[in-house]
Structures are given as C-alpha cells and as structure tokens.
Amino acid sequence: MSDTPSEDDAAFARVTTGIAGLDTILQGGVFEGGIYIVQGAPGAGKTILTNQICYHHVAGGGVALFVTLLAENHARLIANLRTLSFFDEAAIPQRLSYLSGFAELRDQGLKSVVDLLRREIQRRRCTMLVIDGLVTVQASADSEQAFKEFVHSLQEIALATGCTMFLTTNVGDEISPEQTMVDGLIVLRERVGGSRTDSLLQVTKFRGSGYLRGIHSYQINSTGFLVHPRMEALLARPSRVDDFGTGRTSLGNRRLDILMGGGAPIASTTMVMGPSGVGKTTVGLQFLSESSATEPGLMFSFYETPARLRAKADAICPSLSPRLESGLVELLWQNPASDVIDAYGGRLLEAVRRRKVRRLFIDGLTGFRSSALDPSRVEHFFAALANELRALGVTTFYSLEVADILGPAIRAPIDDLSSLAENLILLRYVELRSQLYRLMSIMKVRDSAFDPSLHEFVIDAGGLIIRDTPETAEAILSSLASNGAQVRSAPWQGATSGKDGDRG
C-alpha cells in the first residue's frame, strides 16, 4: 500500500453532489467513502436528490449503484426521472445501475443484504451507492443492535472501497441509532405559512468539515433539486475586504449629487423611500444612466417588467436607453412572491459577480421581504446582502415604498434601516390647494456633510428635476402649516412597520 507522507496524511477527498447550493452548504461536497443519511417525509424529494447526485457522479466518471429496499418498480422510478433534465438514459446500466434488495432482505436477512451490496460494489467498482428505503431495513432488523451492525458493516465497506453512500429514510425527528453512526445527516422538511409551503433543508451533522448551519430553502423543478443557502449563513463573512476607498459616485442627477455632498460614497448603500408613484424608480433610473464599461449597471426589479422599464427610460431618462440597448445596464426582473428570498439573493449576487456590476438598483425592496416565510430573518438577510455588495465594490440604490401617501410622517416597512442603508433619501407628496407637490430631503449620508433642507422636485421628460433652492419647498410647507397641518421636525423617527409594495 502507498505510504508516502503526503498521501498518508491527506484528508479524504471531496465528492461533489453537483447540486450547487448543497455543495456550498457542505463547503465542497461530501467525503469519499463517507456514509450519509438523507431524511425526509414521503414526497420531500429524497429519491430525486439522491438520483441527481448519482447522475452527476457518473457524468464525472464515477460508477453508481441505486438500490431500492422497497417493493418498488424500477421502470416507474426511471419513468419519473425521465422528466428531469439531469436524467441520462445512456448512463444506464453501465455507469448507473438500479437493483432491488427487497427479496434478499425479505428472504435472507440483513447479513445477506450486506454481502449483496459488498459484492456488487466490488464487482462493479462502484464509487457511489444509494440505498433507498433504510426504514425497511430497520423494520426487518431483529433488534436495534442488528440494525446498528448493518450500518456499521456499510461503513466498513464504504471505507474499504472508497464508495460514498447515501441512505434515504423517512424516520422522524427523534435521534435514531443510525444517525449517531453515519458521517452526515441531511434533513428535508416542509413548513407551511398561510397557503404557502416552503421546502427546507438542514444539514444537522457533517463529520470532518465545517458547513453552513441552519435552515436553507430548496425547490424541485424540471432541472431537479435546487438548494438556496441561507444568505446570512453564506455571507457571514463578506467574500472580500471592503477596500474601495472614499471616492464618490454620481447619482446621475447633478442637483442630487450636490445635496448629497458630492454624490454617494463609492460602494455605499443608498435607500430612496417614499410613497407609491412619487419618483423612486426615476431616481434609480437616473443613477443607472451613469453606467459605463468600467461601471456596469444592473437593475433588479420586482414589479415593473423590463418592457415597462424600457418604456419608462425612453420617456423620462433618455440617457439610459442606449445603455440598456448596449448591455451596459442589465434588467433582471423577478416575479414577486414566486420564489424564496434566498433564490432572489442568489440570482442577484450571481448577476453582480458575472458582470462585475458597480451600479445596482434594487427596485422594490419589499419584494424580498414578501418572499420570506420567516419575517424575523429579513433584517439579517439585508444586512448580509448589503455587506457583501459593499465588499464587491457595488454602489447600491434601493427603493422602498412607505405606507403614507401624503403628509410629513413616514413609516418604513423594514426595521433597522441604518444597517441596510448608509444614505437615506426621502421623497414625499404634499397636498396643497388641490395640488400635489413632491418634496425631497436627504436624511443621512455616510461620513459626509450633506444638505438637509427640503427641496421641491418635479418629474418631466427630462427626468427628475430638483429645484435649485429650497425656497419653493419652504413656501409649500409654510402654506401647509398655515392651512392647519403640522410638520414634524424629524419625520423619519419613530418609524414602524407599514405595508408592502414600493413602486416608485
């Protein structure tokens, strides 16, 4: 046997599952020769998950064996798999075989099943084995000790053959003996909230490596199993050091840049808040209109479709249109509430990294919030996302709709805005003598002086135009006060949760 120091002391090799989110959670995949339990209720997707891992494995040159211990028809199993894009008929039976151990188990017992598996692994030189239906073995075992010995025998075979094993079971949440013996445990479960059901994956044990703890989302579609690592866990530490200096980025509006003290700090996060229709999207489109080859732009939108956004750009932000045409700015529209929050986050970061985006406009921040079944994690999600975007050098613009349409008070629908936005811009309507006016105020700019005065603005074919001096806003507010309304000195304080939706 080989005994070179480098080989002797090397850790076990990783075996990727081919399921991107799962490999991320496992920090590179499972370990060769390890034995892993996939646990979940019927219908959770255990068979799809383990089949997908097998097809990925054989595509990479491995040899896999899928053994069912239930009285299951393999033709039906394969027919169901045929609908999934990872299925590869050509892999069967040379590289991936389906065998039944049901008769062996029923007629000969556990030792005979162990012998069958070992001989098949040796004969085929299998590097991956799935045993679908471990619960059948458990039910067939004369005692708990006999079942443990069965699992232990599998461990020895896995180690001696380098064959990585997955055992599926639908045993519930209680700690069972096999869970204490194996190298890893992947639990699939569902959580119902209202009329919606979230599919959740949790790795509760993984020997030999760190992994992303906590609950992650998964989906099953025509491509198979998709896992979305929980963003807060994935980005617990930003992927790189935030070293983008202290420069400024133009917001695409000269007056707004001046009010902000010279634009937004590079790689900072700016939130523009205001009621529906006040002009939040317009501010964001102007920000994107400064995109260039060195500062690629991305609009991540939940509400207005790309066609409507293009029409809007043509109407009120003409300098953006050629950038959309040339691809300097990408529009990525998401159907709100059709996906899980981490799926949106993953797509956003992928698009940012793919094009090295430097200008990002997220139009409709509550689109993220409404996709989270667990509202308690939304602030953590945003904080992690904002930290990563900063680290990637992305200057980010968010729009956030507030519930109050008119008047000086606002109620933000997301708590702890400070962790999310370093710069805050408030847009609002004021109604006076049958006329709606729009007012803008800068509430905060990171580490910088800024103009805190209120300014009236209008939106026309030239886009968002801010009055040069605050006098018009003062005149509006003076008239408003004389008509009986009160103006709060710090209208953003005491913000409480409001309602969804933030189209500008």
Binding site: M1, S2, D3, P5, D8, D9, G33, D115, R118, R119, Q122, R125, H152, S153, Q155, E156, I157, L159, A160, T161, G162
Partner: protein, 123 residues
C-alpha cells in the same frame, strides 16, 4: 485451501476482510487479539496472517515476535495494518511482508495478498 488468519479488535474490519477473502476462495479464521491469534495459529498453521497493530491483550507487534519464537510459525508471512504511518510502525515491528495503512482500499489489498500467498507457496 489456503488459510488466512485475520486479527483485529475492530470486528467490522475483521468481518469485512473475512467476507472479501472468503469470496476469493480463502479459508479465513478471525481472532480479536494477538493472544487468541497465537492460539489459533498454533492449531491451524495459517498460510498468511493479517494483523492490526494496536489491539488489547496482545498487540500486533507482540504477536509477530511471539510467532517468530515458534519454529512452526516463524516463516508465516505477516501483514501488519495500522492507521499510523509506517515509520511509526517500524519502531515497534519489523520483518513484515507488507504494511497496510488504514483505512485501506480493498481492491489493491486483494491483489497484494494473492501475490504474497503465491510467492510463499512457490518458495
């Protein structure tokens, strides 16, 4: 029939080796420690011993020395297994036919066992 004595306190390893070697046509005897192995070796004169190093009662190094002291047993090829590096094993035990680092891969081990048995029987 070629007789192989497998000595390991880890019964999972011993049973696996026993099953694999039985499939290859060997007659396999299993012992959980060196003392029991020495007794079984005296009774059955195996053609090959495959022994773990670290075991209770009598370890693999002590077993090897004890067999070397017995004229009938001293020429039996001895394979030593350990999870320790070979350099560490050599400090305690020498003169073995093969060192097998645990965890081992069964495929190569079967071939090596065959070679040792064949060369010893033709000698």
């Amino acid at each position: 029939m070629t007789v192989v004595l497998v000595v390991d306190d880890e019964m999972g390893v011993a049973n696996l080796l026993s099953d694999v070697l039985s499939d290859e046509g060997y007659h396999v005897i299993v012992a959980p420690n060196g003392r029991e192995a020495l007794r079984r070796a005296g009774e059955q004169h195996p053609d090959l011993v495959i022994s773990d190093l670290m075991m209770p009662v009598m370890d693999g190094a002590q077993l090897k020395k004890a067999m070397e002291a017995e004229p009938d047993l001293k020429d039996i090829p001895f394979i030593i297994m350990s999870s320790m590096p070979e350099a560490t094993v050599l400090e305690q035990c020498a003169g073995y036919a093969l060192f097998v680092r645990k965890p081992f891969q069964i495929y190569g081990l079967i071939d090596q066992i065959k070679n040792i048995v064949d060369s010893n029987s033709s000698a």
